[in-house]
Symmetry: C3
Subunit: 325 residues, 3 copies
């Protein structure tokens, strides 16, 4: 890996980057330089997308999903296997000792004996951090509570960088549930390392949390808030859609109203910039009209592809095997 | 593989067979020549039944089971792993994004980025075909709706061929639920490529669907219908039993009656031909008396063995690696 | 393996040990010599704890869990993968044909065609034995009914041996549910091969079963019964804690009372011998105060580590690959 960096701009500004054995709990665990390096490694991983390598041969990943998640789980497991490693774990808490009342702490104490890296999805805020404090193994946060989903932010940022050439200078609009959606929270923090403008579009009840807005302000990320997609469409370079969940609304009528307003259609997209890209962490329900799938703005299925290569890059770096690539 | 074909009769009649990257959605996707070739490859795979090879090393299969199925799922996963490959996936929809309302279309768009072949079990009619239209990856139908279960038909036909020496000239009786059982539907179409006589034995309410009977007629497959096992026992070369499910009957009394009539016992088998074989796609509940397991006619446990070798053959052919065997 | 034995005391007393293709259904299936050999192989496996080997390359294990169990399942799967093998299976019966009414017998008849070894967890007493009678493949009992969990006994005994240097001469106290807990039953039989004294501490309603006490007596294992942890604490070399389940008590008040009496705290441990070790098969609920985790007596998290190496040893021996180690 270090070899192929010679052909690129030096991302380290002279400082050696060291990812080996590190946890990845929050997107802010990585500096901008480190993110850029990870993106370069991801570029490189593209060639192994359907063509496995053996750099993690003999290594085992624990895939502990205390909440169901096909996409993130399969993406991490595929990444590990494409690199020659393997995985054990569970896909939902019902099949685990957790259902017998075991604490997360005890689960980590057990599983650290079986594997070399732990990938954890858990509904509790701060769960990944707790896991990382217990074990010496590297812990990767695959989604914890409502605030953090850093590997999703990685792939979102990589998608933006790869589709637009760079992240700096872009206007990124986030649409939908900005209060409970952990992907938008991690992405906002990640983008704060770049020179972007954030446009937040949500119903009143699902606004971005004030404490996050304050953080973003301190990190000098310009943020504007809106109520309708139409208000940002002609300006945005990235339109990041999210799922609005019925259970967030006490009143079903209010939900129906919001749903129709926050639905992206090909007609709406007519006023978008030519190179604007539409992203979505998926799964989507009906916040994006299926006709948009064929629209040249759509990139949300490509995100899944970038998801596996960024996770291959992340795992390679944490295992310290990039030089063998 | 092509080498060992030199020792066998040419199956291609001079035409090159090409399975590479093809979907396998229906048993009729394969010609008789192609089936025969696949059966020869299956013969060859027998030697790797407990002795893995490396022809699919580095390849990943998605095993997407939207309906639970131990047998078919484990058989495909074991086949892939015996060939040196690996698998990711889910065993039931509860652990998938499907439970969040994601469509099959979006699931396929996601998973095609992670793997090299997709094996799909789904309750909706035509689901495998939809998946195949979306992705460039080969799709294998592991059971869709009530009509199609082509890999089961493969192993059923292979069992008949291997246990009887050939399929042509045989009388095949199918017993039980011929209306909802997808295995009998696929098998009937598969057998229509051979010179067999079909004897259908079922209660009035579970008769083979008229549109299938019409298809079979157009394919020149002679079909006769019966109501009792006794009517076909002395003539049949193959007795293909199926499970009759309680939920198909509005009246529990009717179900009890049917159940006792469609139950195979050693006593019944006394009037069978000496080399008649009893098959069942399994799982069975009580439509075959456990005492039949030891009967020389029984072959339904051997079917499972043939299931893995036909699936190894299928995967090898689709990946185009038969020459490396 | 045989080579490294040359450096150790001969475990065989001149008799060749042969584990190849054997079932492991009960802890009493192994003689004391065989256990000692397995423990030596386990010592050796320590070096592969985070560093896989290839001795079981190409071999497949069926991991059939008809009851959920994260710990045992992940431990066996990790052991198999660390040895270069792979696994297929299911983590709970809902995802299996069992939920369609299939018998264990039929499941074994199916799966024996797919794999090289079967690891079975099943709620029915004697289930592993039934499985072993059906198939020629080696069957490993990963917990059956309330009486047998031999691989847990292996790791428990290995933990005692490794932490104390030897098992002979120790006083082992078992605390909690001695009636329904299968781990204490298997462990008691295992310890009867050694010169130990057993101290049983349980509420009246959860006493060790009379038929087991009789067996232990015939095996010349001295046993004493107690009602409070305090009565054994100053004497015990091993304190084996177990979970007391609410559902065992018709009266919730009685459960609350028992729970508070059978809870281990750092204060209680002050009267323990200096080198006494606390074990627990885990998961625990609240029968061990989390403050005990940091106590020098605690070894229950280390048990998990010993769990994977004893299972690696067991699998290696059953596959007959110890000489390749």
């Amino acid at each position: 890996m270090r070899r192929f960096l010679a052909d690129s701009q030096p991302a380290t500004h002279g400082l050696p980057l060291d990812f080996k054995d590190r946890d990845f709990l929050d997107i802010t665990d990585f500096s901008r330089d480190e993110l850029e390096h990870l993106f370069l490694v991801s570029d490189h991983m593209t060639r192994y997308l359907h063509n496995s390598i053996e750099t993690l041969h003999g290594k085992l990943m624990a895939s502990l999903f205390f909440e169901p998640s096909t996409r993130t789980r399969l993406s991490f497991e595929a990444a590990m296997k494409r690199l020659g490693g393997d995985a054990i774990g569970f896909a939902d808490p019902a099949g685990s000792s957790y259902s017998k009342g075991e604490t997360l702490v005890d689960t980590i104490h057990m599983v650290e004996n079986y594997v070399d890296v732990i990938v954890l999805r858990h509904p509790a805020e701060g769960s990944a951090k707790i896991a990382a404090q217990i074990t010496d193994l590297p812990v990767i946060n695959a989604g914890s509570g409502a605030l953090s989903h850093p590997s999703q932010a990685l792939l979102d940022m990589y998608t933006i960088r790869r589709e637009h050439g760079s992240i700096d200078g872009l206007k990124v609009a986030m649409v939908g549930d900005l209060k409970y959606g952990r992907t938008v929270h991690s992405l906002a923090y990640g983008l704060s390392l770049y020179k972007v403008k954030l446009m937040l579009v949500s119903p009143e009840t699902l606004r971005m949390r004030p404490e996050i807005l304050e953080d973003l302000d301190q990190r000098n990320l310009p943020v504007e808030q809106f109520s309708r997609i139409e208000e940002v469409l002609s300006e945005a370079d990235v339109l990041y859609m999210t799922r609005i969940q019925k259970e967030r609304f006490p009143d079903p009528l209010e939900f129906e109203q919001v749903r129709s307003v926050y639905k992206l259609t090909p007609e709406l997209l007519e006023s978008a910039k030519k190179d604007m890209i539409v992203l979505h962490p998926l799964p989507r329900i009906d916040e994006i009209d299926p006709r948009v799938d064929e629209d040249p703005h759509s990139r949300y299925f490509k995100q899944a592809q970038y998801g596996i290569i960024t996770r291959m890059a992340l795992l390679s770096l944490i295992f310290g095997v990039e030089e063998k690539v």
